[in-house]
Symmetry: C3
């Protein structure tokens, strides 16, 4: 026989567990949405994944805010990549949720269309930091570093470890 | 103190949330199952992922029905690819479930084994459409287009946006 | 009106369904954690994903136990790859959980940094076997085989089929 107290405890436990699964799925979805925005140079779709105070760091490049990310994706340089044919593909990440904050570590690859077929233009280590907002999970910081044998990419990958 | 009415509402909400998570996982599983079927030329395994009225569109190619997909995978051309060594790898998708229908947008890559190592034979944008059937989620339509700088692949990627 | 018996049944069903989703997510997480450990030559992080009685098989190579896996990742050969710049990227897998055991079939790719950009060093078929332990899901066996046109990789991929 089940008591009302037990029922309440079990419901609450389930609600917390389901919320964590939903959080992880939503975070994966944000990361999977990056490529389809970047690869058609859609600055509005790309910027909608980021917070206003976000930072995107890739080696020496530093871009500030959702609007800065949108401007980069709308830029002539990005449009030239899209006209050539590019695919920014994200691997499925190691996600760690801590309340309203999360990190996700994964690999990015950029494939470019060329006259001879496809080349791999870039392989990078990524650490995404995200925050739960009224509109869902958004990226607050992404640190990407090309896999070049140096320590920076390895430091990014080390963030996959549990704290 | 928890009332029976509250309990019923919370159970129902949980059941709906869990079902959505299960749907998304099942859809990801269908997509992840494509490569292992294609890369051993197993037409039966490949066709089992599709509905009888499905359509597979890739540039100018159009294949009709689960049996058509199975025939393609069993074909001499596909068997030649498998004998050379091929890997049809799908990236994790942006899934949107709407009742008994869903879409999933992702990237496909085909790696080929050669005497000099591996080459990237194809990178494509994909929009999968799926339907819930008595046997689980099945593909009703897949539109793939090579990433070649043209607008068709970008239109496929745009379907990752929320409707 | 909801009866206590119904409530207990529905809670139990939900708990089982949520547990399966959590299991699948945990298994994906173990597999996604392999690359970030391997690509910084962190034997401790790599070995923590395996059981003491685990086996890693890759073509003719056979490595025994979590400590054997850790030693391989700490080895001079692996450190040389890391200094060159390597990315061991896992595709999202087809997971099948059966109680406290599971299998997951996917593709691995190793990208290497070179003076001319990136090359694909290896594409492999993988079947991971996992066991639920007191510390979570751990790998008990991984069979990897390079995609080379031979039957071994196809046999690995065939394990994605439902039993």
């Amino acid at each position: 026989m089940i008591s009302p107290g037990d029922t309440g405890d079990r419901l609450l436990a389930l609600e917390n567990r389901v919320r964590l699964l939903e959080d992880e799925a939503a975070i994966c979805r944000v990361i999977a949405s990056w490529g389809p925005a970047a690869d058609r140079a859609d600055g509005r779709a790309a910027s909608s994944l980021w917070t206003d105070d976000a930072v995107l760091i890739a080696e020496a490049m530093r871009i500030e805010g959702a609007s800065g990310v949108g401007d980069m994706i709308d830029s002539e340089g990005q449009q030239a990549l899209v006209r050539q044919g590019c695919a920014h593909v994200q691997s499925f990440p190691v996600v760690q949720v801590d309340g309203d904050r999360a990190t996700a570590v994964n690999y990015g690859r950029v494939y470019l269309h060329t006259n001879e077929g496809f080349e791999i233009w870039r392989v990078s280590a990524n650490c995404w930091e995200l925050r739960r907002t009224a509109d869902g999970w958004r990226v607050t910081r992404r640190h990407a570093h090309v896999i070049d044998g140096g320590p920076q990419a390895q430091e990014v990958l080390a963030r996959a470890d549990k704290p």
